[in-house]
Symmetry: C2
Subunit: 501 residues, 2 copies
């Protein structure tokens, strides 16, 4: 039956089958994090590995009988147009990347990173970088090989970052992030000098988990998260995943002595979740039904978490509700004092616990290190020293040990090199988009302070979510804001917010 | 690489791949019942249908290049032995059945039953049997065709019941269930006459869901359910499912005005769950890692739910704990009164709400009807009349309408014909096994009344759970009890229990 289909239709049928497998794999991973009993781990790992083999072979089989190559030729000669052109362009890009990596290489990388993650856990626990060092050396070597197999123009790092932020290069990333760094270092130093406000401290209290869960559901719903097409659950590390735009799962985690441990991360994951719920369901299985890039995804979570979720207008609406849900201690805390508390800027050791300002210097440290590792200008053995000196230089803090320093993140042990900068791109995209949103939606702050988030969500739906991969990230930001990605809007946002408080 | 394997090893590798797909499919179904948001239904149905196609084609592919046929010949000539012989014997049986049904037939049955279930829901809601009638007629005709394709010796019903209780025939089932009926009708009539005890009523009270959940977890754990290898969740209809012996999920449902709504069904599902947790993990993917039959599965749930879970010894241990958890109203209710309440025998309209005695007449009504439908001796249009007259004759009750009568169960609309009798077989097997257990374990009741369930569980593990499909149900019961399946032990159990209260 399939044989009588036109090639582009045949491709869509096959992509949809692969999408089902990917979606199924996401369900298994979600269950693993949220529900699976401990003894189920081994068989779950086997099931996931079997599925990932099935996905890979189905993807490679797209070019059996030259189906995909033929369509690529038709794309180059403009015989394939419109939405179909997007589908072929993006599928070809993924296929080419996967095709360039030999099976033996993929297996070795998977085997090394799987073992390296266990070693990393051990090394972090024991504060022993030397234990992890040989494994990270192996990973860097493999990622350098990967870059050679993929090919690049200027830096081998180009070939790696392109996987997470398609179209981005090492050079462009360095330029953008250097600009940002040049702003942030003096800005943070200045804030530190000026901020001696005692209210900028964590609020102490006992916040019952059940009451926190109810409040987080309330916020999520108010922002537009559709609970008929999604769920909010509990897991050790907050994450979002989607099986389809009609079934998006987000998670958060709770500490009974720290209310904002859950609220911040919930709003962050809601941001991701709103993006996935806004993708067009009928495109499920094609690149038109997929998000643009990690950076654009992060722009959604960061916009809701920080630009909106830590704004005065936002809390004008939610603070009375929070005071009602948690009268102890909030009924005695003034709005201004509360607002200052949630916007405390203070250099910290751990990236995931840092504020919206210093966060980016954590990323820049990682970006500079991984780029130089891949380009071969520094060596793995020197990382503890380099880490410490950069953290001192950029954030002015001393690193007491490697567990709280270079060993804190899972990414490198998992082979995710080129991934970190997308976190900061998220912040920059979000400010750049938000500048346009503010110019487009009249009285935006007033709407927010009334709890009306629909105008923002509709704008995001129309301009970003519903587009799928129609445009690459670079094109999208230019199309929407008229400019290439840059740090100006984000630094202006910070200046405005922190100079006026 | 696979090509260099011996045929039996090649078969095992392929069966394990299929087992992963089956397990994955079970995870998706579990999530669908327990967590999935409503809008996720369509894509979930598509994912499940895609998986089921994949499972079917992988199963049929077992005989590509004659792999399975060759092994079957080796089995017949005794070249394949021991555990391997079980694997080939059972795989061949399944393969032969699936192979005999044409692809177009399977698709039609699936399409008809899928639509029929929606019609059945509507018909039940509207109390309109005529709406459902043409669909049930289609299903009966298809199941008759199925029986012809599969083949049978005496009755076409043989070919259907064999799918759920391998080796059982219509004639043997009729003989066993007739014996049971001949006992039950006068026994129940006698109990009705003698029972005017006012304490045999539902206990009224308000039982908070959270407190019920805690108590059900406590009971489940005490019986031996391993929460590191399983979970107990909430769903509309209680069920058990397993992804592997190390990951078994059971569910129950709660009514705040009826404590035993959840306790009975939880113990029932724990019984199923203990069976699945007791299967040998290393045999995952082969028939040695699968349960024997639906009847044997039900023997486990029924033994724990009724024979053990409604016994005096059981509640000697748990009743003080129940009184502590729910002092209101239980602190004022005597043990004897409580015991009589949970063992009330009273004919009811609905099978799923009936007690352990009358339950079997509900099954016998369904068995007699479906057997005669398949054999062509009665017609679908007459079912409401037949249902009413049998219920009057066997249980002495009048059926007010078809919603509470012939339309109450989903099974027929789903094409599950030959399934019902396995519920009663479960009761008979359980009593027959339990008779042997009592002879084997000294002071069994005393151990139970001390909350020591380990001796029973170990016995079940050793004699039933760990065996997988090594023996067919008929062989297993003979091997364990020395007799073929019969109703004697169950009727003796009932006589002993209800004549002495």
């Amino acid at each position: 039956m399939k044989k009588s289909l036109k090639p582009i239709e045949e491709l869509k049928v096959r992509l949809k089958e692969i999408a089902h497998l990917v979606s199924i794999s996401a369900i298994l991973s979600w269950d693993q994090e949220v529900h699976m009993p401990s003894k189920g781990a081994d068989v779950r790992a086997e099931s996931l590995s079997y599925l990932s083999g099935l996905i890979h072979s189905s993807f490679i089989a797209l070019d059996t009988n030259g189906l995909l190559s033929t369509l690529k030729k038709d794309l180059d000669t403009k015989k394939v147009k419109g939405n179909d052109a997007v589908i072929v362009r993006e599928t070809w890009k993924d296929y080419e990347r996967q095709h360039k990596l030999s099976e033996s290489f993929v297996k070795e990388l998977s085997s090394v990173t799987s073992k390296a993650q266990n070693v990393w856990i051990e090394a972090r626990k024991k504060n022993d970088f030397k234990l992890f060092q040989p494994w990270l050396e192996k990973i860097i070597k493999l990622k350098q090989q990967e870059a050679e197999m993929i090919g690049y123009k200027d830096s081998p790092y180009d070939a790696l970052i392109d996987q997470y932020e398609p179209g981005m290069t090492a050079g462009e990333a360095a330029k953008i992030l250097n600009d940002l760094k040049d702003f942030l270092i003096p800005f943070i130093a200045h804030l530190k000098t000026n901020t001696k406000d005692a209210s900028r401290l964590k609020v102490k209290g006992k916040f019952l988990k059940e009451k926190q869960i109810a409040f987080n559901h309330f916020i999520s719903k108010a922002l537009g998260f559709d609970f008929d097409a999604g769920k909010l659950d509990v897991s050790t590390h907050p994450f979002s995943t989607n099986f389809h735009p009609h079934d998006v799962r987000i998670t958060t985690r709770y500490k009974e002595d720290d209310l904002f441990h859950s609220i911040g991360s919930t709003i962050h994951e809601v941001g991701h979740g709103l993006y996935e719920q806004g993708i067009t369901g009928k495109h499920f299985g094609t690149p038109l039904g997929e998000s643009v890039s990690l950076g654009i995804h992060e722009s959604q979570s960061r916009m809701w978490e920080n630009i909106i979720g830590k704004s005065k207008s936002f809390w004008k609406y939610f603070y009375p509700k929070l005071q009602k849900q948690f009268p102890e201690p909030y009924k005695k805390i003034s709005f201004d004092s509360f607002y200052n508390t949630i916007n405390t800027v203070q250099p910290t050791l751990i990236r995931t616990e840092s504020d919206e300002v210093t966060y980016n210097l954590h990323i820049i440290v990682r970006f500079e290190i991984e780029k130089e590792l891949i380009e071969g200008s520094i060596e793995v053995k020197d990382l503890p020293y380099i880490w410490k000196s950069k953290m001192k230089q950029y954030l002015g803090i001393s690193i007491p040990n490697d567990t709280l320093g270079v060993l804190q993140d899972v990414h490198w042990s998992a082979g995710l090199i080129g991934y970190f900068p997308t976190y900061s791109f998220g912040n920059l995209y979000s400010a750049q988009f938000y500048d346009t949103i503010k110019k487009t939606i009249p009285n935006l702050d007033r709407e927010i302070s009334k709890g009306n988030f629909a105008p923002i969500l509709l704008w995001l739906r129309k301009n970003i979510h519903s587009k799928g991969k129609t445009y690459r990230a670079g094109e999208l930001v230019k199309k929407i804001t008229g400019e290439d990605l840059n740090s100006k809007y984000f630094t202006e946002y910070l200046e405005h917010k922190y100079k006026t408080t």
